[in-house]
């Protein structure tokens, strides 16, 4: 087993200018936001240009990085000293961050281009592009920063951008609510992350990744490391919609579809995985925290799959699937160096095929007057062939159809998990079977079967500006997995950044182990079952009531109800209790402190009666108390 290599100071070349990746989209966002309506006419073009520019820098940096020896592939660029001894602003280019940067700028640029078409009728298109650029900048800051502080700023930045974009159509109350929900749940995660970062700072006296290498285990007790790991995991759960902070992701589909594709499928939601892998040193030194990561991953992958089985809204179905796939990645990330390469590999291939399907879904919605209910689709294959074919490619990739992208990366995670702990492995296999079912269900309901269109629907193929990105993404969905996994190409590339596992078995082109065969069999069974239910049989336009299990899944496994009963109700109850005490005539000030803050504030306000004599009384009383307290303290 080998640790990651040292970070070396870098000067010159494309990597020296890698900060432009962050700066360009940020500049774009600033111009578009400050320029206002004046930039309406060319705003979207500027947005695309900035994103493409960032992509170009990323490619150039990547090429330069490849030219270096593997042992020198972690390059740090100092930008400026923020506060000496506390934090510097710097960029870290290593295989891990450059992989993310390529994914973000590449898929991001495609989605920018797609959005030109998708948002062409929205008179606020310029603002949309501003937010997209802002998001890209923040996301790049998140993955490129060489310390936790910069990571956190980016983390908050993507949260903000996501909030702005989910609520982009704020005239829809549901969008506004969803934005708020995402914001609040993410705050919980961010709080965990923040405390985690504080703990790192107080324990190690530094936030820079270069100081937090494999030797952290020698500098702190395992208890501290476990605490840090769990706190970071809380942050990761919030951002990556893992249990128990998953509730916001499904609602986030209220945002425009390109947003769902970019942020809530391909990039931002994977930030949690990035965080766990980047903080690998802590997790490897704290097996308990690592175990929790795998458990969270497995639980989420199953929960997401179950939710995906019951959703009729195409985007929510995809969102459930996203949750589930990130569960896989989290599982991989929890398995240590052996799993990192597969987790990140799956993350990248997932970025392609999920973005592909989301954009496909967007294309379908575009054609169907923004109808999202799959029960209103059916038989769309003939009318929109490009969308359908690319969607099907994405579908085959995600269910792990042999030789496509998803097959290799997912299989890798399952094999590693099986090796690590058979229980986790078999649960992951079960999840794969469920994936086979719900994804097939989606494809059959949308593109095959009978027409169940609304009367005024006239579906048509989308313009080229939307289909070309689909085609490009689907190419990635086909070949990328094999390219990355075969010959351990990606694992070797990534090794300088995340370390090498003790053994690295050569992956097969077509696996024949028991797990692989069981997976294939289950996926096939799931797909067949879906064909029976939704392909061959008639699909009712209104959803049948379904069994208890269906309802359970439709209600997002009662996630909201759980939140309500666990957090909201007790809060309200507490408030009522305090009101009860208040009514009993105890002074509002004293017991108000015990009540919820909002209620307290409202009641405390009444103390400010507006009578100058009351104020004087409070001063006089305060003076008496202060005098008494000092006399007491002084004579103790």
């Amino acid at each position: 087993m080998e640790s990651p290599v040292e970070i070396v100071q870098h000067t010159g070349g494309a990597i020296g200018y890698s900060w432009l990746m962050i700066a360009l989209p940020l500049l774009g966002a600033a111009i578009l936001l400050l320029g206002g309506r004046r930039t309406d006419r060319w705003g979207h073009l500027l947005g695309v240009a900035m994103s493409l520019g960032a992509f170009a820098v990323a490619v150039a940096s990547f090429v330069q990085l490849l030219a270096l020896n593997p042992g020198e592939r972690r390059r740090g660029i100092e930008l400026f000293e923020f506060i000496p001894g506390m934090a510097d602003l710097g960029v870290l280019i290593d295989p891990l961050s450059i992989s993310f940067a390529l994914l973000i700028t590449g898929v991001g640029s495609l989605i920018h281009i797609y959005s030109i078409g998708y948002m062409s009728h929205d008179h606020d298109r310029r603002r949309f592009f501003a937010y997209l650029n802002l998001f890209v900048a923040a996301m790049l800051l998140l993955v490129l920063s060489d310390n936790y502080l910069g990571l956190f700023v980016g983390w908050e930045g993507v949260g903000l951008a996501s909030y702005l974009l989910i609520g982009f159509w704020q005239f829809k109350p549901s969008a506004a609510t969803a934005a708020k929900k995402a914001f609040v749940i993410n705050r919980v995660g961010d709080f965990g992350l923040l405390i985690g970062i504080f703990t790192i700072w107080t324990t190690f006296g530094s936030l820079a990744f270069r100081d937090l290498g494999a030797d952290v285990a020698t500098q702190a007790s395992e208890g501290t490391l476990t605490a840090i790991g769990l706190l970071l995991l809380v942050g990761a759960c919030g951002k990556s919609a893992q249990l128990p902070l998953q509730a916001w992701l499904l609602d986030a589909m209220e945002g425009p579809t390109p947003v769902s594709a970019l942020i809530h499928a391909a990039t931002m939601v994977t930030a949690g995985v990035y965080l766990v892998v980047r903080s690998g040193a802590f997790f490897e030194a704290a097996p308990t925290a690592q175990l929790v990561v795998t458990i969270v991953g497995v639980a989420t992958l199953l929960a997401g799959a179950i939710i995906g089985c019951a959703k009729d809204d195409i985007k929510k179905g995809l969102a459930g699937s996203t949750m589930s796939q990130i569960g896989y990645m989290m599982l991989g990330a929890g398995l240590g160096p052996a799993g990192y390469a597969f987790a990140i590999g799956h993350l990248i291939t997932h970025g392609f095929f999920k973005a592909n399907m989301f954009l496909g879904a967007g294309s379908v919605m575009h054609a169907m007057n923004d109808e999202v209910d799959m029960r209103r689709y059916g038989a769309l294959f003939p009318v929109m062939k490009v969308t359908a074919v690319t969607f099907v490619i994405g579908y085959l990739a995600i269910i792990g159809f042999p030789l496509l992208s998803g097959y290799y990366t997912k299989e890798g995670i399952i094999e590693t998990a099986m090796h690590h702990n058979p229980v986790l492995g078999w649960l992951a296999v079960l999840g794969a079977g469920l994936t086979g079912f719900y994804m097939s269900r989606m494809v059959f309901m949308t593109f095959f079967g009978k027409k169940r269109w609304a009367d005024d629907a006239h579906p048509h193929e989308s313009p080229a500006v939307m289909t070309v990105p689909l085609i490009i993404l689907s190419i990635g969905s086909i070949g990328l997995g094999a390219f990355l996994v075969l010959g351990n190409r990606f694992a070797t590339f990534l090794a300088p950044a995340v370390g090498t596992p003790a053994e690295m078995p050569e992956p097969h082109v077509f696996g024949v182990g028991p797990a692989a065969l069981a997976t294939l069999a289950l996926v096939a069974a799931g797909a067949a079952f879906a064909w029976m239910r939704y392909g061959a049989a008639e699909v009712p336009v209104t959803a049948p009531r379904g069994s208890f299990l269906t309802t359970f899944a439709r209600r997002d496994l009662y996630g909201d109800a759980l939140n309500e009963s666990l957090f909201m109700r007790p809060g309200q109850w507490l408030t009522r209790l305090s009101v009860f005490f208040d009514n009993r005539g105890i002074d509002g000030l004293v017991n108000g402190l015990a009540a919820g803050i909002g209620g307290t504030s409202g009641r405390l306000r009444r103390v400010q009666t507006g009578y100058v004599r009351s104020y004087a009384l409070s001063i006089f009383f305060g003076a008496a108390v202060v005098v008494g307290a000092l006399l007491y303290v002084g004579n103790m």
Binding site: L617, F620, F621, A624, G628, L631
Partner: protein, 278 residues
């Protein structure tokens, strides 16, 4: 011994007066009570070897500051009396609790200290040749900066009083000529009819009667009449009372109809404004 007697007498007087300040309904009484406290304190200063302060206390505090208070009281309404009914819930209770608690704490703080016999300022004043030279030296040496800075305070005070109280004339004062012109250009050049004069009543709240025996509405001082009606002080003769009421009602109706200006005595100031406006 003499000091002890003086102290106890003045202590009782000053505390009683202080309580009087707090608890008397009329503001003027409060002011006078404060004067009593100040004078008692002046004597106590004198007893404690502070003759200069005693004099200043009487001249500046009692003489000037108290006069200012009284002056403002006159301005605000000298006979205004405070209702002693407390309107803020709990205020009185907590005020007294806090007051007692605070006094107890201070007494505790002071009572716990064992003072050596007072040194007395005699020695210091002797050395400098008297109380006033001694104080003067301190004022003009060690504390000269504080002394200078107080001038800022005094200027601020003067400036503040000017700003808040001095009303600058925006227009020239109306002359006799302006007033006369205004009067003759108004609806009523002649004086209003005077109030009624009767065998039994000869008062301005009685209306004049017109030749036909009816009440002249113009002769009724409406402000007075309204008060009297409210307090039931109308003439005993029910006929006349009814007339007054009628006239009042008529006047009010007219007021409503023509706006406030109808039938009102013309203020010179208003007249001048009107002319300027036209």
């Amino acid at each position: 011994m003499g000091e002890t007697i003086t102290f106890w007498v003045l202590a009782v007087v000053s505390v009683a007066a202080a309580l009087g300040l707090v608890f008397s309904r009329k503001a003027v009484y409060s002011a006078l009570m404060l004067g009593v406290v100040m004078l008692s304190l002046a004597v106590l200063y004198a007893v404690q070897d502070a003759p200069f302060l005693a004099a200043v206390q009487i001249i500046v505090y009692t003489g000037a500051v108290m006069m200012l208070f009284l002056f403002v009281l006159m301005l605000v309404g000298v006979d205004s009396s405070d209702s002693l009914v407390e309107t803020i819930r709990g205020q009185r209770f907590w005020a007294i609790v806090a007051g007692l608690g605070f006094a107890a704490l201070l007494a505790l703080a002071i009572g716990n200290v064992v003072f050596t016999p007072a040194v007395g300022v005699g020695q210091v004043t002797q050395a400098k040749g008297g109380n006033i030279p001694a104080l003067a030296e301190m004022i003009f040496t060690r504390h000269v900066f504080a002394f200078e800075v107080t001038s800022a305070l005094l200027i601020t005070a003067a400036l503040g009083a000017m700003v808040l109280a001095h009303r600058e004339r925006v227009r020239p004062k109306a002359t006799q000529r302006d007033l006369a012109r205004a009067r003759f250009s108004g609806p009523q050049p002649s004086p209003l009819p005077g109030p009624g004069t009767y065998a039994l009543h000869n008062a301005i709240d009685m209306p004049a009667l017109l030749p036909d025996g009816s009440v002249s509405a113009k002769s009724i001082n409406r402000v007075l009449a309204r008060h009297e009606l409210e307090d039931d002080f109308t003439p005993t003769d029910p006929e006349k009372a009814a007339m007054i009421r009628e006239a009042l009602a008529k006047g009010e109706a007219e007021e409503r109809e023509h706006g406030v200006e109808a039938e009102q005595p013309i203020q010179a100031k208003d007249a001048v404004i009107k002319e300027d406006g036209q």
